[in-house]
């Protein structure tokens, strides 16, 4: 491991550290798997991380910023860290990785449909039993990014990541 770490450049080391930064509201998934990290620039120990907010009014953004700074600062060779939240490109649910989708399910949240087109019907499988015999209880859920559903097969309430697609 030592040898592997030594052969990595600073940017790669920072990215590795960011794997440990999770969404404070969905603690099983890292911000990398959520697709929130757009770019990492590392020059001479100074690191600039470009992050994409999921929802604009997400109250967790400040916590995420703090956690990113903390994780990146602890990387050997990093002197200063800056986090920029940018809106271009827009974060969409297509940015969530395959690994991320598995982590969401672990948390009881159905992952968003792939290649969703806004306005088109949206099929969601229960994260517990896999059934698609589900009903939408509320498009809006406990956090800005989630909806509330009910599985008629295994009779569990569950949440789903609200699909967000580029509409431009």
């Amino acid at each position: 491991m030592e040898a592997v770490l030594q052969s990595m450049n600073l940017k790669e080391k920072v990215l590795l550290a960011l794997k440990e930064v999770t969404d404070p509201e969905i603690s099983s998934i890292s911000i990398l798997d959520l697709g929130m990290v757009e770019d990492v620039e590392a020059t001479d120990g100074s690191v600039v991380i470009k992050a994409l907010p999921t929802f604009v009014g997400c109250p967790a953004l400040h916590i995420i910023e703090r956690d990113i700074k903390k994780a990146a600062s602890e990387v050997d060779g990093v002197k200063e860290v800056k986090v920029d939240f940018v809106f271009s490109p827009s974060w969409t649910t297509d940015r969530i990785t395959e690994e991320g989708k598995i982590r969401l399910k672990e948390f009881g949240i159905a992952p968003p449909p792939a290649n969703h087109v806004m306005g088109e019907p949206w099929s969601i499988d229960c994260p517990y039993c896999g059934s698609s015999y589900v009903t939408m209880e509320n498009i809006f859920g406990p956090t800005a990014c989630r909806s509330i559903l009910y599985c008629k097969s295994c009779k569990n309430p569950f949440e789903a990541m609200k699909p967000v697609a580029d509409m431009n």
Partner: protein, 268 residues
């Protein structure tokens, strides 16, 4: 276009426009948050508070754009400005009904649905225009906000349609709310005194075009749900784009900023 290539007049028109965008979302998000715990049912309570949170986020985003344009810190813009410095339309600042959140709130759900539906349609149309704004940071913000706005519009459209085609009592209340909102919706549709500079700078399209698109969409809904035509939307209570406001805004800002004003230096 960026701040280096625009002249002073264009920059001040751009700033004026962003105040309108931010303040509209800010004050309506506040009115929405006053419904917390009072909405007609628990699902609506969750949905409406989520929408209000999104909208407050949109306002904060616009205030950050203003901060970048040298207007001062975003938090201060939200909390420390006097009512006359606000550029929101008067319709959006009006109270939800009689009473206050803490004392005998007798809020009008029909008015809330109509106001939010009318505004959501206009916000959608305005964002579609802002996506093509010559000021790139504003265009980026619009592209982001529109993905969230999509769900808000769907929500209010459903409420509007269902209530206005429901029982006689519901229909009566909805029609009276439509009449009330119509008297001041002209104040939402106007871009205010510096509108021609905004259009010249390519920040947004002509207000008459946006208004026409709004009317087309609303009139289509009226035909579909049997609401009689309302004519030209008016500006009866004054023009918020000129800094004219009612006591309702002053009262809301006092409540809203109470905690912040006790110690503006404290961290959040």
């Amino acid at each position: 276009m960026n701040t280096k290539t625009m002249n002073e007049q264009e920059q001040s028109a751009l700033i004026e426009l962003i105040y309108q965008l931010g303040d509209d979302d800010f004050i309506l998000a506040y009115r929405g948050s006053e419904w917390l715990g009072l909405a007609p049912h628990i699902e609506e309570d969750v949905a409406f508070s989520s929408i209000s949170q999104d909208m407050m986020g949109h306002a904060a985003m616009y205030y950050h754009l203003l901060e970048e344009l040298g207007e001062g810190e975003a938090d201060g813009l939200a909390h420390l400005r006097k009512p006359e410095a606000f550029r929101n339309a008067i319709l959006l600042e009006k109270v939800n009904g009689s009473g206050t959140y803490l004392k005998k709130p007798d809020y009008d759900w029909a008015f809330t649905v109509v106001r939010n539906y009318f505004y959501a349609v206009y916000k959608q149309i305005r964002l579609e225009s802002l996506r093509l704004s010559s000021y790139e940071p504003l265009a980026d913000a619009a592209r982001k906000i529109i993905t969230e706005q999509y769900y808000h519009l769907m929500h209010w459209e459903l409420w509007f349609k269902q209530l206005v085609t429901s029982t006689e009592e519901a229909k009566k209340r909805m029609l009276s709310a439509v009449g009330k909102a119509w008297k001041d919706f002209g104040g939402v549709l106007t871009l205010g005194p510096s509108y021609s500079e905004m259009v010249k700078g390519g920040f947004i399209e002509d207000e008459n075009l946006l208004k026409k698109r709004w009317l087309n969409r609303i009139e289509k809904m009226f035909v579909e749900t049997g609401v009689p035509p309302q004519g030209e939307p008016l500006i009866e209570s004054g023009n918020g784009r000129k800094g004219e406001h009612t006591q309702d805004l002053a009262d809301a800002l006092t409540t809203l900023s109470e905690v912040y004003a006790t110690n503006p230096a404290s961290g959040w």
